[in-house]
């Protein structure tokens, strides 16, 4: 089996994987970072979004081997060591931007990428359009949209 090495949440990691192993499987099964979820098999739902070299990617459609040498951030890597939440995490909680929590890690990681691409002052239309790659079945998006706008502001 080929070996893959990458940096995940600031720590160097490596593992032997089958060539067909997906990044999400490597994260969940090899590293036991189970905050990244799988909600579909066609890259639509976005529950699996992580950052690869600072850019949002769907880890269910990325091979682990493609990430050789890459810098990966998952939901587990956002809060500070002392437990202080990232402003976007805080905003999701403050605005009730989650219910069952299953899509939430992907939503937060996607939200951060929306901020990276569009800055800290986001209007509702921009957020709704740019969330196209993430599905939530619980919230009707109302509070997710509010949370992302508030989180973006708090990050400024």
């Amino acid at each position: 089996m080929p070996k893959v090495s990458m940096t995940v949440n600031g720590k160097p990691v490596s593992g032997d994987v089958e060539a067909r192993t997906l990044l999400v499987q490597f994260l969940r099964e090899n590293l036991r970072l189970t905050g990244t979820h799988v909600g579909c098999d066609t890259s639509q739902c976005g529950a699996c979004v992580v950052h690869v070299d600072g850019v949002a990617a769907k880890s269910c459609t990325t091979l682990a081997l493609q990430c050789e040498g890459a810098n990966i951030t998952t939901i587990e890597g956002l809060a500070k060591e002392d437990g202080t939440l990232h402003p976007m995490q805080e905003a999701f909680r403050e605005n009730h931007g989650l219910q069952c929590g299953y899509c939430t890690p992907g939503m937060i990681m996607a939200a951060l990428d929306i901020v990276r691409r569009n800055g800290n002052d986001l209007d509702e239309h921009t957020i709704r359009e740019q969330l196209d790659g993430n599905i939530c079945r619980c919230t009707g998006y109302h509070n997710i949209v509010k949370a992302i706008a508030a989180g973006a502001k708090a990050m400024a």
Binding site: T34, G35, D41, I75, L85, L131, T139, Y141, N143
Partner: protein, 785 residues
Amino acid sequence: MSATGIGAAVRRKEDIRFITGNGQYTDDVVRPGETRAVFVRSPHARAKIKKVDVSAAKAMPGVIDVLTGAQLASDQIGSLICGWMIHSKDGSPMKMSPHPAIAAETVNHVGDAVAVVIAESQALGRDAAEKVVVDYEVLEAVTDPAKAKSGPQIHEVAPNNTIYEWSLGDQKAVEGAFAQAKHVTTLNIVNNRLVPNAIEPRVALAEYDAGTDHLTLWNTSQNPHLARLVIAAFVGIAPEHRLRVIAPDVGGGFGSKIFIYPEEVVCLWAARKVRRPVKWTADRSESFLTDAHGRDHVTKAELALDENGKILALRAHTIANLGAYMSTFSSSVPTYLYATLLSGQYDIPQIYCEVDAVYTNTAPVDAYRGAGRPEAAFVVERLVEVAAREMGLDPADLRKRNFIKSFPHQTPVIMAYDTGDFGASLKKAMEIADVKGFNKRKREAARNGKLRGLGYSAYIEACGIAPSQAVGSLGAGVGLWESAEVRVNPTGSVEVLTGTHAHGQGHETTFAQLVSERLGIPFENVSIVHGDTDIVQFGMGTYGSRSGAVGMSAIVKALDKIEEKAKKVAAYMLEAAEGDIEFKDGQFTVAGTDKSAAFGDVALNAYIAHKFSGQELEPGLKETSFYDPTNFTFPAGCHICEIEIDVETGKTEIVNWTAVDDFGTIINPMIVEGQVHGGIAQGVGQALLEGAVYDSGGQLVTGSFMDYAMPHAHDLPSFKVDTTETKAPSNPLGIKGCGEAGAIASPAAVINAITDALGIEDVPMPATPNTVWSALQRAKPSQAA
């Protein structure tokens, strides 16, 4: 109101683990030596299984075993069941077919399991599953419920594929009322079939402990005790006391995770066979094929009115598609959860409803958010709206003319509404939605080439499910009470064990708000425990918006007992008569004195038991209650949807959504609003986007998120959500329930708005751009692009 008490928008306790990636969903649980189950599923909608050859699959790398339906049968593993008996009009019982967890003789829908591979990994299991050779004799299938009765017979027990032909109401009286009517409105309605699609797919993980002969099942369940009961008592895998079911964090349910599914049975059976833990994780394609779907009604409905727009009677005939097998509660959905709500918010003297439930070669159909009540609300609210338009009356006025205004009100279809103020929610909704300004907005839209429409939905539902004796008399195989155990620790902190289950509803927060306020202890000192049959006393789980009205009532009753016992302890501590002890804000005080003891001190004394003898008073402070409600609760309200249609594309945009709901007492308004938002989104999904489509051969055409249109953020607006309040008299907190209202109210509001804009009534759901554009071409060619 305190910052964390009843009525406060307390931020949720459970969020911390979810936003940091520390939730523990079933697929996150890993057991030592875990294997993976991969199912071989039928590609045919209906076929005889002539032979299943597993030899090549067994020889594949990493394969531990390959099991078939024949082995399941020879191990005498029982059939899955439907737990609600419905009798036909002629008195005969419903025709329930066998439902083996793995098919041995015939497959009856695409996705029906025919074998299972147990392998070292999911990937190896999938490789091996492709090597299982099944020899099928393909048979003709039927998928359209309207054609089911004349289709090929699916199950031996059910001639004409008819499960039951049921009715409710007085047919003769209704016929008499129709004969007197000045106006009759008739609608043919298809309530489109939906796929629940919780974002967490279903998962089952089973482990066998040979030393104790115990089985443990981790599953994505809304009601782990019920799963254990059915698996023990009917499927017969293991007796209840040697089967533990754990439903940890569950990623959305919406009804689809109430039911007991084949995969759970198979994982348990296989784990004992291979003596290793067995996990199955659905991929989304399997979810589409095997999760119980929702709705799927074909209805003809009629409303009789007098010359003043007073409703005289309602009549409906519905064909309900229950799919290939009867799922756990499927029989109750199109009967007692549907026809009993056909009175809506209106004083309708006579109602008659016939429901024919049929088998088809499609996935089973069961409860999905609202379960019968969205179908009823859609029938009633479309009929009323169309009747008003046909009679030249204002739709709001016609509703007001017919609203039930005094309570209690006995409808002709079983339900006795105990409270409500339908005029108040309509009035408030009309103000917030600025209905007065609508015509101006419509003219402005027309100048921009857009058609604008406004639609009402004044819905009612029955929640707080349910008084056990009442549902028993209607055929339920279970009681629908709820349980709670309140454990006070020696340090004064509290655990509440609830028989309900949370999968997004925030029970850890709202239930703690109740306990904190009642006992006068910090919110942080309360933990809510659910979802483990070895820890929590028997409970009925979460569905039907019951956790507040029934589950929290059980907590109230247990807290009553805690207070009573604690007063006894305090009396010994304070050397006073028990009757003189008062309890307020966490302090036990001797009436009229300054002698008092804090709750924590009393808790400690209950456990150290130094102030009283064990013969006088039992040590400890822990109480249990099983609470059975006295009636259903009746959340009701008014939603107003305003839309704009682009005549060039047929695309509907929701430009304004107003929801005014009466949920009785609200514990946490933030959480309640979130429930309303989510419900509306699912209802809008039904109205505009979603529809499960089987072709005539039984293939699910909409089998992925690429083909089945889930609502995305850009499909929806922000919602204006408000409330009115009449407290439910049937439970101690006055709660009515809020989980399903949005999904019940919204489809009719959307379609009423679209048909208002178009000026024609024949617009089926989902009203996709193509559907709306086509309707526009048929109706008003002059307006079309």
